[in-house]
């Protein structure tokens, strides 16, 4: 940085410290030798060992059965992964039904597991399946990526042990695979000391950013929502705006002044975005510490100027699951000669059908065969997913029409207007995506109408 740099430049340099060449060479010289023995193959082996512990721990978290079921279930789950790895490896020799639709085959295996669980007699077999089944939504998308790697012919020479590190990722994650699968991770893996240092510095920065967002979330909880669980609420000595949370307002339309309700609606969007960012930053930060310089899960979605841009930036790895397993397969197979219909069909396959499917198979009510319970929790989401798919389709078609043209006019005011439009769209449809069964779709719609004085 030059001596005469302004405050803006200095701030930018501070925020972008991970790209500072001096720091990078210091890190490479001082820190890299400490972990010099930790080259890429060793890092993966370490992650694979941690994966086994992670599998048991995650299974234990999701199971309320006896400990023996977890200890027996974990190797069975790894055995299932071995079976899918073998299928992926030998995909070209598999029967046509499997070869041509490997993802359908995988989800048929999931369905068989569920049917076995639902029909298993009470006792040990059922307890064992009760430990394994809640893990299936966790591994299914990761195994999907494994099958895709097999389809691309990139599995030759690998063993199952080479895949454990992302099937049971020690860096964390939800049912959504943060870091995707083998192809993506091996493509971004650091192979030199400098690349490793660069990835680690980017990881440190992202973890710090995650902690900053955690602080902001805690501050919001105390200063905006007066959340009694936030440690800052007491620190602020009762000073708070006392804005009601959206989930508390939706069941009671008209219970607060309209301005407060709209304020709460927008705040909820900020709240869920920051919470997603703070968790995702730490997960991806840890992944980067291990030399995988992966994309962030959340990247400035609140500054997006179009619905589709927000969707790409809000929850990147979930969007990738929907894109890879629903959007692209539909796009390349359906309506090739009708460009707009092609995009609409692929978007609905992903944002509507895929989104519903993803959330349905992870519902505890669904896993325990309560279809009424599943409907109660999921039916509002049908409308959310439908509106989301409509919004993304329209936004994609608009972006496509504008491609190659100059940026939209209007300057800063125009930009603010576009951002406000995106906020409004996602804040409004979130009413039908709030978790829980109450209120039902009609209650949520009543709340939505009350926002406009109806």
């Amino acid at each position: 940085m030059s001596r005469g740099a302004g405050p803006g430049t200095r701030l930018r340099a501070l925020v972008q410290f991970h790209e500072d060449p001096a720091l990078l060479s210091w890190w490479t010289a001082r820190v890299a030798p400490v972990v010099g023995w930790l080259d890429a193959p060793r890092r993966r082996r370490l992650l694979s060992l941690a994966a086994l512990a992670f599998a048991v721990e995650r299974m234990d978290d999701r199971s309320d059965g006896p400990a023996w079921a977890v200890w027996l279930g974990a190797p069975i789950l790894v055995g299932l992964c071995w079976g899918v790895w073998r299928v992926a490896l030998e995909l070209r020799r598999m029967p046509l039904a499997v070869r041509s639709r490997p993802q359908l085959f995988l989800h048929a295996v999931l369905a068989l597991g569920l049917v076995a669980f639902w029909t298993a007699p009470a006792g040990a077999p059922r307890q064992l399946l009760a430990a394994i089944v809640p893990m299936l939504p966790f591994v299914i998308w990761r195994l999907g990526y494994l099958l895709k790697t097999g389809q691309r012919g990139k599995l030759a020479g690998t063993k199952l042990a080479d895949h454990l590190f992302y099937l049971f990722p020690a860096w964390g994650g939800t049912n959504t695979p943060y870091g995707k699968g083998f192809d993506y991770l091996t493509g971004i893996e650091a192979r030199t000391a400098e690349a490793f240092a660069r990835s680690q510095l980017a990881g440190v920065r992202l973890i710090l950013l995650g902690l900053v967002w955690r602080g902001v979330v805690e501050m919001m909880a105390a200063a905006v929502y007066a959340d009694p669980k936030s440690p800052l609420t007491r620190v602020l000595g009762g000073w708070t705006l006392g804005v009601p949370r959206l989930p508390d307002l939706v069941p009671h339309p008209g219970s607060a002044p309209l301005g407060v309700v709209w304020f709460s609606l927008y705040l909820e969007l900020v709240w869920v975005t920051l919470r997603l960012a703070m968790k995702g930053h730490v997960i991806i930060g840890v992944l980067r510490l291990f030399g995988f310089n992966a994309f962030r899960n959340t990247y400035k979605p609140l500054l997006a100027e179009s619905v589709v841009e927000f969707w790409n930036r809000y929850y990147y790895y979930f969007k990738e699951v929907l894109a890879e397993f629903f959007f692209f397969p539909t796009f390349v197979r359906r309506f090739r000669h009708h460009p707009r219909l092609r995009i609409a069909a692929a978007t609905f396959a992903a944002a509507f059908a895929g989104n519903m499917y993803y959330h349905t198979i992870e519902q505890p009510a669904f896993l325990s065969r309560s279809l009424a319970g599943t409907w109660a929790v999921m039916h509002s989401r049908l409308l959310y997913c439908f509106l989301l798919a409509c919004g993304i389709t329209i936004s994609m078609l608009r972006e496509q029409r504008r491609r190659g043209m100059d940026a939209p006019a209007g300057g800063a005011a125009g930009r603010l207007r576009r951002i406000a439009g995106v906020w409004t769209f996602f804040a409004l449809i979130h009413v039908w995506a709030l978790p829980g069964r109450d209120p039902d779709i009609f209650g949520r719609t009543r709340f939505f109408l009350s926002l406009f004085g109806w």
Partner: protein, 84 residues
């Protein structure tokens, strides 16, 4: 059609879908099309359509691997492999 001719055709196509103000000529074969800012991620779909129409590549059979469309070089490799 040689690789150089395909590269010329590809760059000419990219010019029609790129963001304004970024010269496609200066982009290296291995530079990411999206990460360099030349195109947005949705433009990948336009590249798919162009490859289907121009080179008859059938992604329904082949499967779509976004990694194969990440740079000019990887797209040329894909065309070379699928049209040979």
């Amino acid at each position: 059609m040689t690789r150089a001719e395909r590269a010329t055709a590809l760059r000419a196509f990219l010019r029609t879908i790129q963001k304004p103000g970024l010269p496609v000529e200066g982009l290296g074969e291995d530079e990411g099309l999206v990460t360099s800012g030349l195109i947005d991620s949705l433009a990948i779909l336009e590249i798919v359509t162009w490859l289907e129409e121009r080179f008859g590549i059938d992604f329904a059979t082949l499967g779509l691997d976004p990694g194969e469309l990440r740079s000019i070089g990887s797209i040329l490799d894909l065309i070379g492999r699928e049209t040979s």
